[in-house]
């Protein structure tokens, strides 16, 4: 038995303009949880796609159980016992869970699917790994946390020895993350090897036996999980030390935005909330408690059944996105790919979205292309958006850079109120730090921010006040200085209410 179950030597991959993998060597031991961490664009996903056979490397070799292998496509990887859970799930929404799991490896009896024996086998499989998912339910009705488990069972059903998980926690809430980690540890005990791709240091430290750090396509460090700490990892990942943000003392200003009796049964019940000048008001809540609807109402995407919105003391008459933007409300939507951006528009075209109809971008209905391009170039520079040109379609940018396009767009117009929904979801450390600094400096300049995030750390660090939403109601408004995370959790689960 070789010491390493999987080893790469000299993997090199060029993309136009980028050296995605530069002579990458990783060594994965049998039965360990091995994290590969790095910023967006560090080459983690490229490397995994090479190992999984989705991309052919320009150079380099892969050794599996001591033998050199050619992984020309994913079926080769699967037959070797390498399975991968992608960041975006590969499931068929209208199919049931068991149908999804067996897809591509169906058991046929007399020409039809042998459902009974399939389900029996799946149940045995689930029992042996301590995993449980509702086999009969349709995938489209299930939460992200459960789908993640479905993907894992899919791999185990195909006999995977190595499980690659690409940013598996990006879309999960804290409870689900903890559950996932327990599952992974259980899998490890059963002898499976797990490759965990992430850039969330706390999680990596919590779960890993060993950690490989990548930066700009190169491996820059290999550590034992026990020896590593957050600072070392961050320094390796971004090549410099992180500073904790400087937060100015909070002083309540004038009222800017006030929600009065906003109701949208059954999701929202009589929401009253005031946002003051120069503050960051955090909105905390477990997903599905009405925060999404609330934010969509403030940005005009959803109409409330009852209630009023006041802006600087005056009632806002037209609650539609254009009118709200006109009075000075900016919006960072939760889902950048479906709501925030038009993927097949260029960077420049996306940067003017929402203000495209106004001067200076449109003059008498005619688009002012030179101004649009110049503005876009300025924003690209100011927010360090990595793109070869402002004429490139946003689709081809990495997730972090896509988010920066939205941030740049919203900050550039200097709104007085910014509604930010999950602004750092899926971003790496560097980009997250940048978002935090942007929000804080905007606050310093007098902007008011309503910040919703599922990352409680983020809410606790940045907010001046935190409004907790539970079951469509604001159950408390608390100060992060006086309350700890555990108490916040009590509010969020409805166990406490003011």
């Amino acid at each position: 038995m070789a010491e390493y179950i999987l080893e790469t030597r000299g993997i090199t991959k060029h993309f136009p303009g980028v050296l995605a993998n530069d002579n990458v060597e990783i060594k994965i031991r049998q039965g360990e949880i091995h994290s590969i961490i790095g910023e967006n664009g560090a080459g983690k996903t490229t490397l995994m796609n090479i190992i999984y056979g989705l991309i052919r490397p320009d150079r380099g070799e892969i050794f599996y159980k001591g033998k050199k292998v050619e992984i020309s496509n994913p079926s080769v990887a699967i037959s070797l016992g390498i399975g991968m859970v992608h960041q975006h799930f590969m499931l068929v929404p209208p199919f049931t869970v068991w149908e999804n799991i067996i897809l591509g490896k169906e058991v046929i009896k007399r020409g039809v699917l042998d459902k009974d024996s399939i389900c029996l086998e799946l149940k045995k499989l689930m029992d042996s790994y301590g995993l449980s998912v509702p086999l009969e339910e349709k995938v489209e009705d299930l939460s992200v946390g459960i789908l993640q488990k479905v993907e894992l069972i899919k791999l185990l059903y195909r006999g995977a020895e190595i499980l690659i998980l690409d940013e598996p926690t990006a879309l999960l809430i804290p409870q689900e993350i903890e559950e996932l980690f327990e599952i992974l540890e259980n899998l490890k005990r059963q002898g499976k090897t797990i490759i965990f791709i992430s850039h969330k240091l706390k999680e990596v430290l919590r779960i890993s036996d060993r950690i490989t750090v990548m930066r700009r396509g190169k491996v820059v460090g290999e550590l034992e999980g026990k020896e590593a700490d957050e600072e070392t990892l961050a320094r390796l990942m971004i090549g410099k030390t992180l500073e904790s943000p400087q937060i100015e003392a909070y002083e309540r200003g004038d009222e800017v935005l006030r929600l009065e009796g906003i109701s949208l049964p059954p999701r929202l019940k009589n929401i009253n909330l005031t946002l003051y000048k120069k503050e960051i008001l955090g909105l905390a809540g477990i997903e599905g408690n009405g925060q999404k609807e609330l934010l969509e109402i403030i940005t005009g995407l959803l109409k409330p059944e009852k209630g009023k919105i006041f802006y600087k003391g005056r009632e806002v008459q037209h609650l539609d996105p254009r009118s709200l933007r006109e009075i000075g409300i900016g919006f960072i939507p939760e889902d950048r790919q479906t709501t925030g951006l038009i993927l097949d528009f260029t960077v420049a075209e996306n940067i003017i979205l929402g203000r495209h109809y106004k001067e200076p971008y449109s003059v008498g209905g005619k688009l002012n292309l030179p101004v649009i391009k110049e503005t876009a170039s300025n924003i690209v520079k100011a927010y360090d958006i990595r793109t070869s040109s402002v004429d490139k379609n946003v689709r081809f940018l990495s997730g972090g850079n896509q988010q920066k396009v939205i941030l740049g767009r919203e900050f550039y117009s200097e709104p007085e109120v910014l509604i930010a929904s999950q602004p750092t979801r899926g971003l790496d450390i560097g980009a997250t730090e940048m978002v935090h600094n942007l929000l804080l400096s905007a606050r310093k300049k007098g902007m008011s921010v309503l910040l919703y995030s599922s990352d409680l750390d983020e809410i606790m660090t940045l907010s001046d006040r935190i409004a907790v939403i539970y079951n469509g109601e604001i159950v408390g408004i608390i100060s992060p200085k006086e309350v700890d995370e555990a108490t916040l959790g009590l509010y969020m689960t409805g166990a406490r209410k003011d």
């Binding site: 038009i342 688009l367 004429d391 940018l397």
Partner: protein, 359 residues
């Protein structure tokens, strides 16, 4: 960027080449000499000035119907109803032409405006139903095609039938001269181009080119074009960007229908000078193929229309001079569309692979 443009041109070109090769095989099986057939096809279309005249005449309504489909595509809608909009537009301009005896300075623009407004309103029915009730535009426009054909069929058979007509196909009476779009041969002959007076190419062709430029300008240089494309690509993000997708849907279907209506002008105002029952024979549907082959770009649509014009013209010659049935031209047209569809997908993937930045 340059590479992308190059590939975009190369794809349809290769598609056409491949389609002709497949067509050659079919002809060979039928016992014809493909080289001879293709030679006949080309000699009668693109090797003489008169041939070109016919080709451009054939291409004219296709440019309009291709633009109509392409504009709807850009706005995220599939307008299958161009054929119906064409009949409505054609009848509207015919009605104006047989009713008002005015000077051409008024008559020609008014004829065009009538075609556009009525074609546009016919299109708006589908746009409104989609925006208001979410009714699928494909089904609505298909049904509206039948209604439009039946309606014009009724009108031309009953209230507007030419008195004392002998022609077995019902038609209206002739347009007043003020609504007639003249042929181009006098101008061409003055310029020293020897175009025969029998060639029906008329100024509608140049009107079509002007519309190509206008639609290009609308889509690429105005905020309305920006909004149309935004809604076509992502309605949700458009809403977030302060665009009202319902309004855009209705606008797009009006403009698309107006272009569809104009596709009827060439025959009514520029060729027959009357509305002839069922004259179109699928021009509106061919527009779908033209838009696809032209990749929904106005310039591409001009070239695609000319290609289809060549094929239509050549079909006639093939019929006369060879044993190959002219239906084979239809087969080749269909094969071209299939290859373009495959090519599109292939090229999209190729581009994505080239451009995707590494994670």
């Amino acid at each position: 960027m340059i590479r992308r443009i190059l590939i975009n041109i190369l794809a349809p070109f290769l598609a056409v080449l491949l389609a002709f090769s497949v067509g050659a095989i079919v002809m060979y099986i039928l016992g014809e000499n493909p080289f001879y057939v293709y030679k006949i096809l080309l000699i009668n279309s693109v090797t003489s000035i008169n041939g070109w005249g016919y080709v451009l005449f054939n291409a004219t309504p296709l440019i309009f119907s291709g633009l109509a489909v392409a504009l709807a595509f850009k706005g995220g809608l599939f307008n299958i109803g161009v054929e119906g909009q064409l009949y409505i537009g054609a009848f509207a301009c015919a009605w104006f032409g047989i009713t008002f005896n005015v000077h051409p300075i008024i008559g020609i623009p008014m004829g065009l405006i009538f075609a556009m407004i009525f074609g546009g309103l016919w299109g708006v029915i589908a746009g409104y139903l989609k925006a208001r009730f979410g009714a699928h535009e494909v089904i609505i426009t298909i049904m509206l095609n039948f209604i439009a054909m039946a309606l014009t069929n009724y009108l031309v058979n009953n209230p507007f039938k030419e008195p004392g007509q002998i022609n077995p196909i019902p038609q209206t009476k002739e347009l007043f001269s003020g609504s007639i779009i003249p042929r181009v041969y006098p101008l061409f002959n003055k310029l020293g181009i020897n175009l025969s007076p029998s060639v029906p190419l008329n100024y509608t062709f140049f009107i079509a080119i002007v519309f190509c430029i206008m639609i290009w300008y609308l889509l690429e240089r105005t905020k309305w074009g920006y909004e149309i494309k935004a809604v076509g690509l992502n309605p949700k993000a458009s809403r977030y960007g302060g665009i009202n997708p319902s309004y855009i849907m209705i606008l797009v279907m009006f403009l698309s229908g107006a272009l569809g209506g104009l596709a009827g002008v060439n025959d009514v105002m520029g060729y027959r000078y009357r509305f002839l029952d069922g004259f179109s024979r699928g021009t509106g549907f061919t527009g779908i193929a033209v838009a696809l082959l032209g990749k929904s770009s106005p310039i591409g649509i001009v070239f695609a229309s000319i290609l289809f014009g060549v094929l239509d013209r050549g079909a006639l010659a093939m019929d006369v001079f060879t044993n190959t049935p002219r239906e084979l031209i239809r087969v080749i047209q269909a094969i071209i569309i299939i290859f373009v569809a495959i090519g599109n997908e292939f090229i999209f993937r190729l581009l994505q692979r080239l451009e995707r930045e590494s994670e």
